[in-house]
Structure formats: C-alpha cells, structure tokens
Amino acid sequence: MKRVKLYFMFVAQHLKKMLQYRADFLIGVLSFVFIQAAGILFLDILVRETGLFTWTYYELLVIYAMFQIPRGIDHLLTDNLWMVSFYIRRGLFDKYLTRPMPVLWHILIERFQPEAFGELIVGSAILSYALPHLSVSLDFLSVVYLVVFVLLGALIYTSIKIITASIAFWTKDSHSVMQSAYEVAMFTKNPLEIYPKPLRFLLVYVLPFGFTSFYPTIFLLSKFSDGSVLTEGMDWILIKTPLGMLLQAGVTAFALLGISLLIWKKGLSRYESAGS
C-alpha cells in the first residue's frame, strides 16, 4: 500500500515537473522572440532608409537571420557542454569516465535542447520575410553550398565551445571564459565592414565567427559583385570567390575542430576528480 502511494507521489511530481518545464519552455521562447523583435526594431528605426555601408535594410535582416541558424543548430545539439565545468566541480563528471563510450560523445548526446527551436524559428521567419524583398535566385548548387556553410558554421560554434569548456579541466571553472568567447559571435550580427581591420582578422582567424553568419550571407546574396564588400568585408579572405570562401570556411572549421579535440583530450588526461 505504501509503495502504491509512493508511486503516485512520484508520478504527480513528474507531471508537475513536466508542466513547469513546458511553461518554462514557452516563456523562454517568448523572451527570445521578444529580444529578437527588439533587435529588428532597432534596425527598423535606424537604418530602414539609409542601410549600412553597401547593405540595405533587408540585406541586414538576412545577416541577422543567418546569425541565428548555425547558432541554433549548435545550441540544439551540444548544449550540455555548458555544464562541463559544473559537472567537474560537483564531482559528477566521474560517471562519464565509467561508460563504454567516448566521454565527449556521451556528453553531447546526453542532452537535446528544444529551446534552440526559438533561434531556428526566428532565423527562418526573418529569412522568409526578407528574402522576397531581395532578388535572390538559388539554383541547386548554391543551396548545397549554403547548407554546407551553415553546417560549418555550427561546427565552428561547437569547436569553440569544446575548447573553452576544456579549460575547466585545469581551472575547474570555465563558464565565464566560455560565455565571453561565445558572445564574441555577437559581433557578426552586423556587417563586418563597420569594424576596424584587426577585429575582422580576429573574426576570421582567431574566433572565426565571421564564417557563421556574415560570409554565408555574402554568398547567399551574391555580394561578390560588390566592390566595397570585396575590399573591406573580405580583406582577410584569401581567395575571393564563392568556392574559395567555402574552402576557407571548411579548412577553418575542421582545423578548429581538430584543435578542440586535442585540447579536450589533453584536459581529460589530466582530469582529477573533485570528489574524495
């Protein structure tokens, strides 16, 4: 009898948890949409008439939308990386070492973050609003290019998260470092021409977030014919053709992934449990 009662108590708890979770999820997405709407309002008030450098209002919206999509994919799949330093500090990390699976893989598949649909939905919505205002014609090949671009962008996010999360193996705390690096991506919500040249270098070669939103947009909008984008926005791109840019994005993303796996491995080998 006691056990039956206990069972129903557990079920009730579980249901409450689910309800709370759903409300939480809805509120979370709502706040995300709200802040994105505010960002668009900002553009709407200030640059609707004038644009920004060679970018028209609608083209700026496309950068904004393309910013969300690789970020959303990475958010959806690898959100558990944010927890690594927490797991290490609380002594919860040991469990991953005992499983017959690579540690990093286990951490990645452990959590699926549906909140990321907020980013993907907002990104697609803005894109489908802005694109009809622009004369964009996509053939099959350019769609393939675009998909590869987006996936490489997500890979860049993931790699940077792995590198910064690994720092916790040494310091037990990596959250603030991770957040600082992750939010460097904010720079790429805007056309890179507005920034000084050294910063563009940073966004192409050090924390290459440029490949996650700005360069895919140049490709999508065929801004290659635009002289000013070529000289200002693409000054750190080696071969200024679509294929050249895609190659550079690919080399960058995979190099970064390689580095991130090396650092992770090195960190894991010196990991000491926080528990006694």
Partner: protein
Amino acid sequence: MIHPKRGAFLRRYLPFTRGAMEEYLTYRFRFFFWLLFEFFYLFIAYFLWKGIFGAHAASQGIPLADVQIGAYDFSTMVLYVFFERIVFGLTSMQASNYMEDDIDQGNIAMRLIKPLDYRTQLFFQSLGSTVMNTLIFSFPFAIGLLVYATQTGLALSAGPISLVFFTLSLVFGGIINYLISFAFGLLIFLTINSFGMWQLKEAVERVFSGNLIPIALFPLWLRTTSGFLPFAQTRYVPILFILGTYENDIAGGIWALGVQLIWIVVLYLVTTLAWSKATRRIVVQGG
C-alpha cells in the same frame, strides 16, 4: 535621541551589505571576463553607431559630425552608450538574486522568523552588490570615458545643477530598481522560478530601460508603452540628466524627478500589499 537608534539599525543591517560584498570576492576570477564581456558590448555599440551615423551622413550628403538622429549627434550617442553602462552599475539593486537564493535553498521561512525586516535586509544586500558593481563596471567605464573624452575633445554639457539632479535621480533610480527587482522576486516566489522567467524579465528590462537605444527614438506606440512601465526610471532618466537634457529646463528636470518619486510611492505600495499577502500565504501553508 534618534542617533543611538539609527546606530543600532545600521549595526543590524550593515553586515548584510558587507556579506554581499564579500560574496563577490568569491568570484574574483570572473571579474576579468565580465569586464571583457562588457567591453565587447561597448565596442560593438560604438562601431555600430559609427556605421549608422556614417550611413545617415552619406544619404544626406553631410559630414558625420552634423548628422542628428532625433536629438542625438554622434558624440552624444557615444556618451549615451558609456553612461548607460555606468548608470547600470550604479543603480543595479538586484534584490531578486538574493530572494532567488532564499527560495531555492528554502531559507525564506527562516528569514521571516528572524527579528529582522526581510525587505530591509534585501535592501542592504542589494546595496552591497551595487557597491561592487560600481567598482567593477562603472568605475572602469568612467575611466574609459574620461580617456576617450580627452582623446577626442568631447565635452560634457551638464552643469552643476544637472550634476545635482543626476545624483538625485541615481538614488531614486536605485530605489526604483530595488522595488522592481523585489516585485519580480515576489512574482517568481508566487509562480515559478525558472530560467525562462529571468530571461523574459531581462529582455523587457533591456528594451524599456533604454539599453538598446534611447527611448526618445522609439516609435510613438512604444514610447507610450514605456511611459506606463517603471523601467525607464532606473537608467534612462539619470542618463538624460548627465547628458544635460534638462540643463536649461529646470522645471522639466524637477518634473522628471517628481515622476521618479511617484513611481517609488506606487511601487512601494504595490509591493507592500503583495508582500503582506504573500507572507500570510506562507504562514497558511506552513500551518
């Protein structure tokens, strides 16, 4: 006869301020990254505004220095961006952070039975975090602004009266932020304490406190909405004073301060009412 009493009052509550300040020292390794993060933010804002004013200059065919967006030229906008961050630290009375801790760890009942007023205690805790935020954020940015201003020959148009008004409105703004934050703490206490709620609050606050753009540049409907919300009173109003908006309009300045006072009274009454309801509810549940 008032003095010994006040001494006892402070002796009772100042330890909370000190405690909150010491708590920050636990996180001292994060200061650097927080500051870096804020620096990014300032950097982006600066170049974005530069680009926007440049675009307006190009489309109107005038030099960048002559461009006006609303009442703002480029140098005033840069001042705005700096002061927004400075005032943010100075008025950041985040009572809800401490309430959240008390709710999550189940301490709230213990807090209530102590012979201390919980709201006063929260106030003094928030004061501690505000002092630290001022040291960590406002202070470096004030220095940054000073360096930038001397490099570019930027002058502040606020005179002595504006500075006095600015100081007053900072105090009022801090109190209003404390009350807003307490109200939010009550809300999550009575409904759900979730990451989503915090995100939503932050989002609303960001837009309506003038963090994104000066509220004067909002379209009319949004400006009207903002008038019915207290958020602009915390950061935006003090910034207007330090930018010298009321330099030649003392009546307007006094009115702006009056509005802040009205908000303090309204929020105080609302939160007092809600608080007495909430505490009664706790007693019922506990009994």
